[in-house]
């Protein structure tokens, strides 16, 4: 009888373990697809998708620095000094400018503090925004396209030729690998001087 209970206990332990593993790897816990509340309901679909405003109008550091940056209030006001200047939805933006108080955007994508990331090297070496953030120009409210597990980073670092694109496609949010990606990708990896998979899966690249 005791043995039966022990067996049941062990089985239960395994089940809970699997459940936790599933949960921690599920999109639900990673907040994927869920848009957090923001001080202003800013829409990428509206600004980039419909009005055609380039990502770099607001995230202009993305090609040069580790961080892509979030735009200061002044950037919003270049247009909203006149566009919807009386809209209650934009009141926090106007107050922010008047009081010299930054807007507090809720962060959507976030790596743990022990992982290092740098935008500029990806953007200048053929990895477009949509490979990591999805089709931002279709997002009404901003949400994370994925939870940035280590295996996601490694899936590309081990085989970048499956993902890299030519420089003029970086800003194309709808990019899909073409049918001949195998040949194009390999050539691009050479052109961009991308290091081999041993170097790119070296722990110290991301855990410095």
């Amino acid at each position: 009888m005791l043995r039966l209970y022990l067996l049941a206990g062990a089985g239960g332990l395994l089940a809970v373990g699997l459940l936790l593993f599933g949960l921690s790897h599920s999109n639900y816990v990673g907040n994927v697809g869920i848009a957090p509340a923001q001080p202003v309901p800013f829409s990428h679909k509206h600004h980039s998708g419909e009005l055609g405003i380039d990502c770099r109008n607001c995230h202009q550091q993305v090609e040069a620095l580790a961080t892509a940056g979030l735009p200061p209030t002044h950037t919003c006001m270049t247009c909203h000094s006149e566009i919807w200047a009386g809209s209650p939805m934009l009141a926090p933006v106007r107050d922010s400018l008047a009081n010299n108080e930054p807007l507090h955007w809720t962060r959507v994508n976030r790596l743990p503090d022990y992982a290092y990331f740098n935008h500029s090297i990806h953007v200048t070496k053929g990895v477009g925004c949509s490979s990591c953030h999805g089709a931002m120009n279709e997002e009404q409210l901003t949400y994370a396209a994925q939870s940035f597990k280590m295996e996601f980073c490694l899936s590309c670092h081990r085989a970048p030729e499956n993902f890299v694109r030519p420089q003029n496609e970086i800003w194309n949010m709808q990019w899909k690998p073409p049918a001949d990606q195998a040949t194009v990708g390999a050539a691009l990896v050479k052109d961009y001087h991308i290091a081999g998979p041993e170097r790119l899966s070296d722990c110290s690249i991301c855990h410095r």
Partner: protein, 183 residues
């Protein structure tokens, strides 16, 4: 027998032991973090009033001595990012934001601004002009010159006569005109 049922609860202990390891959030601020320690609630700081920069962050750059294809390409790209929403791709002032109600800017390619001195453009980008805000925080001095070089190219291209084109381009233009006429 009853107490042995408790064994079934053992797995719960495993759950209780699951706590995120604390290195996930470390005791340091990152660029975009909130920070209750400072009055404005962010970890990014303004320099203290009266701060004298040891190295000016955005030193003025002189106008480039020569204008080459690389400079124009850079200018075209930056113009597309920052100016087209209002001034339009062609520089005629018919940008998307103007169509949504923003003040109509003057055209670059005809009228007063075609003759304007280069400094007029530099000053408008740096300090703003009327309804237009400054772009000094988004365009380095070198990039401002690149944008101006591209505006000059727009002005030239939309007021050029066919005779001034290189033979190759003229042939292409005439071919497409013939095609147009044949339709």
């Amino acid at each position: 027998m009853r107490p042995r049922l408790v064994l079934l609860l053992l797995p719960l202990l495993a759950v209780a032991a699951c706590k995120r390891q604390d290195m996930y959030t470390q005791d340091r601020s990152q660029t975009w973090d909130r920070n209750a320690f400072f009055a404005n609630g962010t970890s990014m700081r303004h320099p203290v009033a009266g701060t004298v920069a040891r190295v000016a962050p955005n030193p003025p750059a002189a106008a480039p001595a020569t204008i080459d294809a690389a400079l124009l390409a850079r200018g075209q790209e930056r113009f597309g990012i920052f100016c087209t929403p209002c001034h339009g791709r062609a520089g005629n002032g018919e940008g998307m934001i103007v169509q949504r109600g923003f003040t109509h800017p003057p055209s670059f390619v005809e009228g007063k601004l075609r003759q304007a001195k280069t400094q007029v453009f530099y000053d408008a980008i740096t300090n703003g002009y009327g309804a237009m805000y400054s772009f000094a925080d988004r365009l380095s001095p070198a990039d401002r010159w690149a944008v101006i070089a591209y505006i000059r190219a727009l002005q030239l291209s939309q007021n050029a006569d066919v005779a001034s084109l290189p033979a190759e381009d003229r042939a292409q233009l005439e071919a497409s005109a013939r095609q147009e006429a044949a339709k």
